[in-house]
Symmetry: C2
Subunit: 545 residues, 2 copies
Amino acid sequence: MKIALAQLNYHIGNFESNTFKIIASIERAKKAGADIVLFAELAISGYPPRDFLEFDDFVEQCRISIEKIAQACVGIAAVVGGPIRNKSGVGKPLFNAAWFLAEGKIQKTIHKTLLPTYDIFDEYRYFEPNNQFDIIEYKDQRIALTICEDLWNINDDNPMYQINPMDELVKLKPDLVLNIAASPFHYEQTKIRQEILQQNAKIYKLPLYYVNHVGAQTELLFDGGSMAINARGEIVAEMDYFQEDFALIDHNEVNKLPSVVLKKHSKIQLIHDALVMGVRNYFQKLGFKKAILGLSGGIDSAVTLVIAAEALGAENVHSLLLPSQYSSDHSIKDAEDLAKNLKTGYDIVPIKGLFDKYTESLKPFFKDLPFNIAEENLQARTRGVLLMAFSNKFGYILLNTSNKSEAAVGYGTLYGDMNGGLSVLGDVYKTDVFELARYINREQEIIPWNTITKPPSAELRPDQKDSDSLPDYEILDAILFQYIEKRKGPKEIMAMGYDKATVLRVLKMVNTNEHKRYQTPPILRVSSKAFGMGRRVPIVAKYLS
Amino acid sequence: MKIALAQLNYHIGNFESNTFKIIASIERAKKAGADIVLFAELAISGYPPRDFLEFDDFVEQCRISIEKIAQACVGIAAVVGGPIRNKSGVGKPLFNAAWFLAEGKIQKTIHKTLLPTYDIFDEYRYFEPNNQFDIIEYKDQRIALTICEDLWNINDDNPMYQINPMDELVKLKPDLVLNIAASPFHYEQTKIRQEILQQNAKIYKLPLYYVNHVGAQTELLFDGGSMAINARGEIVAEMDYFQEDFALIDHNEVNKLPSVVLKKHSKIQLIHDALVMGVRNYFQKLGFKKAILGLSGGIDSAVTLVIAAEALGAENVHSLLLPSQYSSDHSIKDAEDLAKNLKTGYDIVPIKGLFDKYTESLKPFFKDLPFNIAEENLQARTRGVLLMAFSNKFGYILLNTSNKSEAAVGYGTLYGDMNGGLSVLGDVYKTDVFELARYINREQEIIPWNTITKPPSAELRPDQKDSDSLPDYEILDAILFQYIEKRKGPKEIMAMGYDKATVLRVLKMVNTNEHKRYQTPPILRVSSKAFGMGRRVPIVAKYLS
């Protein structure tokens, strides 16, 4: 039996395009001599379809599309992920199903047992868990068909679940395991995923074929990395990362195939590639072409610009330089140098005149009150208004340039530099933004070294430095990582040796700035805990605040 | 046995204040001669604590607080809601528990069985469902202690669940049922809740004592309405709505008590009272006093201002009138009349000079391109910047004045009139905003009648009317209600008699504006489906769009 793996980039709710892509891959697999071709979890709808699943019309569109696809399965079988109605009358209205299609018809559906409901996952919101186990018989092979999380309770060491589906399925004596998945990227996930799947193959002594999504769904990035594993737990085929791919494996030979040399990626390279895909897919799937951003001469907007130019083409990215009376000369020069290095267009729109006009309009009310956060934010907001004016006039999408450290502590202006359709770096700590800049410059100076080496500053008042208001980024980021990614409390973080006052101050800044993060753009997720859909914290609360 | 019900307004994560309030009510109940006093679900943490539950420190603070409260339970028992660790090693790390406290100690905990995971609820994200049923014996009474949703599968007619906890508990022959709840308000919920609880009492022929939360937790509004029901299913005590309350019921006499006459509230009165509480609690719990908003002369900002003045006191609410060259004379007059009627402060800050300065700054780039959405939004954003400048300078919190119809179809400017810390009317359709205005004017003209009767307009270009871009609000709101609250698809809505082109256009406007709603302030929830935490829709998608 020959098994094809089709690693595709789906568009949520775009039944026409998803169906077309799937049928094209079925044709390709057939021509290549495959007996069966696998597509990802909820491929037909795109993942995650979220509350669209609550619309009968949406679920019906999924079913109609699957029927169309079934008709293409002549001389070949296919497994396609999609929702199916739970007709039992008890439990949630849907199952998360793998549809087994062959001989031009829907043959059977297998339902997901373990429904992730944590972090970015909400599956129990929509789906009833499966509790009946069955095998697919096809071409003299007994197939254990599983869906993503179903393989993630290996050795019963995932405390979240009471059941291990594979322990049930092995009782039915399968010859191989298929897993269709929607496993989103974060920079440590690739390795974790490979190890879990290898363990499954090894423990059950069965070859395993795994197909993941690839592509960005707003903030969620899917890296692909689909694979085939032999019964000894060795990865014998590893598919591409961050792009569509297709593979054909001879199942009869799979246990004779040797381990492949796995693709190696550094953390920073993974983050870089994920962000480029994230920006590219956001624009492609929304039908936009052109991006704009405010280029300050600082490192965040510099890295954002490079990523955007790579994702969209330099000709599709425009910058505005928006100097105020507090901008340093080197900021303008650094920004111009970068735009020239990249060959991206830019305009300079000084904001001093507008700032003065605002202070004049406000003078009757503000009188002689001292310059403070109001005037600082005025500058950031004036920039925001100008960027949005360009966006509205010329059809650019504004990219947000805030980093995760700033977003965490609320060091940014709502309706000012926090504007944008998409946040590119909002899940990248400042220290990693520096690493990204160095990675970008690994072969030549693209980002001016001065941008990388000068002390970070918002330049909203004379001689301002980030370090006036914030701990050093090395310390800040380390504390934030423990609190946000590792969910450690104040005592645990202090026990790691961090200064008590600093820890309490940082945690308080995080918790009192939920209101700001609530209104930020979607953030491309590259870590195991990003601000956004995977982190749900009350705004009005009094905890560590 | 005498049973006290303490209906309190908790503050999420504020263990000091929650513990203090609970102990004070225990003392009060004791003085009143109660044998037991009931507090709401997750009272100790406030509801919903959301991802705070993922922090060991937070769960530990809950336990420590409950132990303190237990010590106050001498000569009286108490039931307090709070999380408890699941020590079994399998399943989610916590249970959602009712702690039974007596004789100065924790006596027992009962765990929630049915975990709502839909709309605004995420309980399976944190909690393992209970599957062991037990009774509390106290003062010769056998108590079936249940938590909120546990009573919501009466007659097994809730298709979401496989089990009905009361069917298990009655096997243990209880004498009465207690239910501690966190049942958020929407304008139809009070009635639904009373009916469900009455059915429980009637079917199991047991008296039922029910304690709900009261107060606002950011967007979620809890209306209280705690109650006692006799074994015939008659409500014999109905507690206050939208404020704290305390009741004492003689359980020995409960079946002799007659039905009370239930408090009657119209839909609009309920929405009004809920919004006032929502604004008031948002400010109180964040420690703010003063609100600001942009007063346009239109109906949305007028109603918002009245609600804010009622919630915070007229002296704490300030308006800015921000006329442009496109503002009509009556707009300024209507706005001033309202502010004078309410005795709220206001300032007039014309924006024409600033608008001209922007167009001058943009002229080298925009050249002779025609006036379009860019210039319209410029006005809205200039107003947004001025309001935020006042907010930053004087410590006002900006209230957002957008209504649900606008939010649904994206008729509003991001970083302009969509700004604010809290959206007061974002879950109220335009047609209901008119009803609210008439309700406010029921005894005298507070909102100028001209504001209510003139055709709605954004006044961002000459002679603009909402009806230039949108269907009539009666039709628009009816279609939106079917799509958003009722989750009907296009075919179902057309089958109700709405014009096909209008239906498709409205649904497309909703689905292509998720990106705008993603960045709006939290919206006070008064309907069964509000924009915000209870409605989760992909931004990048292609469905009905």
